[in-house]
């Protein structure tokens, strides 16, 4: 099997002087510095030889230190459990770099984000429009540059409104959103339709950009970020705080006690149970099956009570700190946890039995929203979305964190490629999560829940962490800095990768299926936009609500 050393060796032999430095900074995480001109050849070479999976890129402003902007392209070698980070230093006077989107379609948003927030534009990008910043944000103001204060609100420049794609010849335009009743969060889709059939679509999201990354590197301290990371998303908050903590712990070399890792695993799986049941309810609601909505939310509610009993809050647990967790799961409540999750398992199995044979559900969900394996790979989708297309990517196995390497479990994979397959994957995972929790409670060792943390986390270290959220993998990249806070903290939520496949999976579908197709990705815009009604005023366009769409 390929090792980190071999990757470095291969790159060094092939590219020689174009590699400025290569180092395994953290176990199984390789950081390679290349000259800007070599970026495209290196990535092409990697694609041909190893075909690693692209995760994110992150732009960092280090102008004060060495007059450069650094872009890090992070790849994952799944079966080898290795992260590879290709870094390019760009001159601060002209921070432009060749786009990798023509080679890796999944890098599309990531490069646009780097342009918006750090001001590093990708040359020859196929779609260089604004992605993240608001319509009235002035040009040339980049919030993640170090000279930009986190609380500065630049004056409005309404002329910068993002132009939406021109509709193809002979099609009508149907805008959906940004406020629409199907999904909770704002996002704006513009569908180009020919009769009932969708030809293409355009997306304008990032209504929920809140500037969390900027807070992380300019205002808060290492331990405060754990709590703000939970508020990246109200559903999978614990996943983000775990991911952040693990990234810092890896960078600084902090050893987390085993008991704390088991506690993290238990909380993560509890979150997976409630998130999947929540999704099942919402998806059922979208297709008008409200009985299932009520049932699955009824089943879910005891998990919330359980979490409240363990952590003190129903949603934002506030349990993670760098080096461990703040609250123990005492032996007295083990029985109760087992009782609650066994009841959930029993009731979920009942629901599954009822759902699996339901022919009206089959009619709505089978062969709809097809995501082919090749497309899923090229857009780098993650989580149940990709596991429903027969690709077994699960960071609990690929890049084990918390206590997952001590726990055996089955990765649910379906080959249907449609919404039904994604539903089955999620249902199976719910049952699997119950098993993981039971196993963890049995095997959890005694001991401290907080590890030794050094007085000051050394600066200039970097690490990547991947955590499997209910929707897919969340990725956090941390570069440590001075003043007890990270220098750069980059977050990628799973929906960020998954939403990019929407144009592919709704092509050729009917308008009435659009809500459930988008819903089947379990999109979570607040994560995606972290940091994060058009009423389209022109012409005859109007907002179509779900009801109106179905009526049509």
């Amino acid at each position: 099997m390929l090792t980190a050393k071999q990757i470095i060796e291969t790159l060094r032999t092939r590219f020689d002087k174009q590699i400025l430095g290569a180092e395994e900074k953290v176990s199984n995480q390789v950081f390679v510095r290349v000259v800007p001109d070599a970026l495209i050849p290196v990535i092409c070479f990697l694609n041909q030889c190893f075909s690693p999976r692209f995760l994110i890129n992150a732009g960092t402003d280090v102008v004060q230190q060495d007059g450069k902007y650094v872009v890090s392209y992070i790849f994952s070698f799944d079966s080898e459990k290795i992260f590879l980070c290709i870094q390019v230093g760009l001159d601060s006077a002209d921070p432009d770099i060749e786009s990798i989107t023509p080679i890796i379609a999944g890098a599309n948003w990531s490069e646009r984000e780097t342009r918006d927030l750090v001001g590093i534009s990708a040359k020859n990008h196929p779609d260089p429009r604004r992605l993240i910043l608001a319509d009235d944000w002035p040009e040339g103001v980049y919030p993640l540059r170090k000279d930009f204060p986190y609380d500065y609100r630049p004056p409005s420049e309404p002329q910068n409104k993002v132009p939406l794609k021109k509709p193809p010849e002979g099609t009508k335009v149907i805008p959906i959103g940004p406020f629409y009743p199907v999904l909770e969060e704002p996002a704006y889709f513009k569908l180009f339709v020919d009769g009932e059939t969708i030809v293409d679509c355009d997306y304008r999201g990032f209504y929920s950009h809140r500037g969390i990354e900027k807070y992380g590197d300019s205002k808060l301290t290492y331990n405060q970020i754990c709590f703000i990371a939970e508020r990246i998303c109200g559903i999978c908050g614990f996943i983000h705080s775990t991911c952040y903590c693990e990234a810092v712990e890896r960078a600084a070399g902090i050893e987390v006690p085993l008991r704390a890792r088991y506690i993290r695993t238990i909380m993560l799986e509890l979150e997976r149970i409630h998130s999947h049941l929540l999704w099942l309810g919402i998806a059922a609601h979208i297709i008008g099956f409200d009985t299932l909505l009520m049932q699955s939310w009824r089943i879910r509610e005891p998990v919330m009570w359980l979490c409240e009993k363990i952590s003190g809050n129903r949603k934002t647990y506030g349990m993670n700190l760098i080096g461990g967790v703040r609250r123990d799961i005492p032996a007295e409540i083990h029985d109760e946890i087992v009782r609650v999750i066994e009841k959930i398992e029993r009731e979920t199995v009942e629901v599954i039995d009822a759902v699996v044979g339901d022919t009206s559900l089959h009619a709505r969900l089978k062969n709809v929203g097809i995501l082919k394996e090749a497309v899923a790979r090229s857009i780098c989708t993650v989580g149940p979305t990709v596991r429903g297309s027969g690709i077994s990517i699960d960071s609990r196995v690929d890049h084990p964190y918390a206590a997952y390497k001590f726990v055996d479990f089955e990765v649910a994979v379906e080959t249907g490629c449609d919404i039904w397959a994604r539903t089955l994957v999620r249902l199976k995972e719910t049952i699997e999560a119950v098993k993981i929790i039971k196993r963890c409670l049995l095997e959890m060792p005694d001991g401290p829940i907080m590890g030794e943390v050094m007085e000051e986390i050394p600066s200039g270290r970097e690490a990547i962490c991947c955590v499997e959220a209910p929707r897919g993998e969340a990725i956090h990249y941390v570069l440590t800095g001075q003043d007890n806070r990270p220098y750069r903290w980059r977050v990628r939520a799973p929906t960020y990768a998954n939403l990019q496949c929407v144009p592919y999976i709704i092509k050729g579908e009917r308008i009435a299926d659009v809500p459930i197709i988008i819903g089947s990705l379990d999109p979570c815009y607040s994560c995606t936009e972290r940091m994060a009604v058009v009423d389209v005023k022109t012409g005859q366009q109007k907002i179509y609500t779900k009801e109106e769409i179905i009526k049509r």
Binding site: P154, E185, K214, V533
Partner: protein
């Protein structure tokens, strides 16, 4: 105002839920309030699919720069008389994001707010209680105070504390 409330919202209020760049936590709790364990529908509260059918807006999240103009439009499309509930700490006063570069901070900076339900996220019981207070089903437990009189620093007291219906 009392009489308008009593007259217009006596039987049942239909609510429209708006996420103005919230993290989803409050939104999930709002939906939760409608599901079997809390069952808001027993008070006649119903979630509707269009702002034009709604009596009240439930707004979550500190309003982001991109959402701000859309939220104003949305507010206009709700027929009069209307109520606005700011749900969650972010909607109440910006929460932890109050000074971020891309946020306006607090729903009351964009549209008038009648009732605040703080919490991160507020429990479904809290949301139900807030709506019940608005409908006059139960008595209010806290009274609005103006931070300015307490000598808080500039930044905090600049935030306009919207007049609640009860003060008028």
């Amino acid at each position: 105002m009392f009489s308008i409330l009593e007259k217009c919202f006596k039987k049942s209020i239909w609510v429209y839920h708006t996420n103005a760049s919230a993290c989803n936590g409050c939104d999930i709790e709002i939906i939760n309030a409608l599901t079997p364990f809390y069952d808001a529908e027993r008070f006649g509260i119903k979630l509707v699919g269009s702002p034009r059918h709604a009596d009240a807006l439930l707004v979550t999240g500190a309003v982001s720069r991109q959402v701000c103009p859309r939220l104003k439009t949305l507010y206009k499309s709700v027929p009069e008389p209307k109520l606005v509930f700011a749900i969650g700490s972010c909607a109440t006063g910006g929460g932890i994001w109050f000074d971020s570069y891309n946020l306006v901070g607090g729903v009351d900076k964009v549209i008038p707010v009648n009732f605040y339900i703080p919490g991160c996220p507020p429990r479904p019981e809290a949301i139900l209680f807030g709506v019940a207070v608005a409908l006059g089903l139960v008595d209010k437990k806290v009274v609005a105070e103006y931070l300015k009189e307490k000598g808080f620093p500039e930044l905090v007291h600049e935030r306009p504390v919207a007049e609640s219906l009860w003060a008028k």
